[in-house]
Symmetry: C2
Subunit: 162 residues, 2 copies
DNA sequence: CAAGATACATAGGAATATTATATAAATGTA
DNA sequence: TACATTTATATAATATTCCTATGTATCTTG
């Protein structure tokens, strides 16, 4: 089965949604990812979060400091290991995450509402079918799909993106 | 028809693909979007590009300057209007865009290859069906889904990134 | 032609990322 | 126990990319 066309299509939809629909005003993509990880998996240490989101440890330290200043996360120390900083969501952080998810879902729902109902139903079924597998492959272990960094000093860029 | 579940699913897949699969090393999300717009619609002026990608005009000016330095775009002046700078892809820019697309499509194809073939086929069909409509709604006119900026001086954050 | 509108460029600052390095706590070993 | 090493995090210096505010050159219009 040829996967190049669906791969290209999926990529384009991802780009369209990120650029045109997703709400990235108050929280960066990395911030949302970190908050989401804390929400799904509970309190974690800085290093774990950094590895999970694919950023360096200092970046995650700084991100957590900013999120802490905004009251979205809190830090506690691990009684069994004085070095680690355990980060967890505050109630406010949970609320902010839920609100953002709701805004984004609302926008995407508006987007889908303009399309033929049969198409949307087919998409909904297909998404529900593949999501667990994709979730397992991408988020499960240490990002098995990302190539190792190039040997030469890697040129960098922004985020993701946005 | 309830759209909240497919909306949430689509959002999660978008996040997973952006974080775990997409190649954002050498070109930012905005850069890729601008190059793609130039590729699809041909030469455009700075202001048009800025509006299409949802960034400010100075940001687009700077982005085009960077891309010009890297040889990916070139600028020509409009003979009928001395103010405008017409931006177009160079052959190198077109090649870079194609190479990046191919890398990303390859990764996503690897991702999809691990899933049940029926599911992938259903997803492929669904994506192909909805993509034109989504493309029209998001990229077509001036992003009808984005809310107007808040009245208070908006807190900002990063790009999208990656 | 003067006044305003339009297209782009520049300046200054903020947010987010990086690498390199410092600090503190835990661990292993003589 | 003492000391070196490893581990977890923090800090410093710097780079990229975005923004707002403003400047400059070029049209357009009365």
């Amino acid at each position: 089965m040829d996967l190049s066309q669906p791969a290209t299509d999926l990529l384009e939809i991802v780009a369209l949604v990120i650029r045109g629909v997703s709400d990235n005003r108050d929280l960066s993509l990395t911030a949302v990812a970190a908050l989401g990880s804390l929400d799904r998996r509970g309190g974690q240490r800085i290093t774990t979060l950094a590895a999970a989101e694919g950023v360096s440890q200092p970046s995650m330290t700084q991100l957590i400091q900013r999120l802490e200043q905004r009251g979205l996360v809190e830090r506690t120390s691990d009684p069994s290991d004085g070095r680690v900083a355990l980060v967890s969501l505050t109630a406010e952080g949970r609320a902010a995450l839920a609100a953002r998810r709701q805004r984004n879902a609302k926008r995407i729902a508006e987007l889908l509402a303009g399309l033929p109902e049969d198409d949307v139903r087919a998409l909904a079924d297909a998404l529900a079918a593949v999501l667990p597998g994709i979730r397992a492959r991408v988020a499960g272990d240490a990002r098995p799909l990302a190539e190792p960094p190039p040997a030469s000093p890697a040129p960098r860029s922004q985020s993701v993106a946005p």
